[in-house]
Symmetry: C2
Subunit: 133 residues, 2 copies
């Protein structure tokens, strides 16, 4: 599925900027920050504003086409992969690794039938292989 299709499917009107951000998210599953996205796209779209990146990602998140990650104290991070998976953050190098072998979480939390769950995020913290040696 390409960027344009994805936007339309999620009721997002495409624009040059939105397509560029979506395209970036679909080719960089590195959980980028706003700054990283801005720095990467800015040369090709010289008029691009960082506010647009904030607006765009905020819209994308509302429409469920990207995931907001709160795993990093410093910056918001975003994930173009919205399928169910967890994340691991290395305390030393800061790298964030996808963890795919998760059982699908329950939609209802046992013992809390009164809560309506929209989203589940699991964050592991520790040391990656490169930082252990």
């Amino acid at each position: 599925m390409d960027a344009l299709e994805l936007l339309i499917k999620h009721d997002i009107k495409p624009s040059v900027q939105r397509l560029a951000v979506m395209e970036y998210m679909l080719t960089h599953f590195t959980h980028p920050t706003v700054d990283e996205i801005y720095s990467s796209l800015s040369p090709a779209i010289p008029t691009l504003s960082k506010t647009t990146i904030y607006n765009t990602l905020s819209l994308f998140e509302e429409q469920g086409v990207v995931l907001y990650l709160g795993i990093d104290k410093k910056n918001a991070r975003f994930d173009g992969n919205t399928s169910h998976h967890a994340h691991f953050r290395c305390k030393k190098c800061g790298k964030i690794i996808d963890i795919f072998n998760q059982k699908q979480e329950d939609i209802v939390i046992e013992g809390h039938p009164e809560l309506i769950i929209d989203e589940v995020q699991t964050y592991y913290t520790g040391y990656c292989k490169a930082c252990t040696n």
Copy 2:
């Protein structure tokens, strides 16, 4: 276990400020922010500085006597309950609820024996009972 014992057990030299913060965390399992802690303790300790709260919580977290929660976009939140449990945040009222009925997570992630896991945090997001009616 009282505040003094806990600090000593975690190799933290007690001081008036540290004891006050620890005491607060042991009597307020509300996942407070730095500001909330500061505002609550400030009247009794008029010379208290907000920097001290930051320093103290940072030390407490390193020593494993409180948990840092990244569930709230705006502020850091802290939990004096370091036993294994998950958290739920209501999108509407912002309340954070403890979820205790979790199976103990594995120390090793299946498929990633190379990662050293120090911590696992699970954050649920959705709507609480009061905000659903």
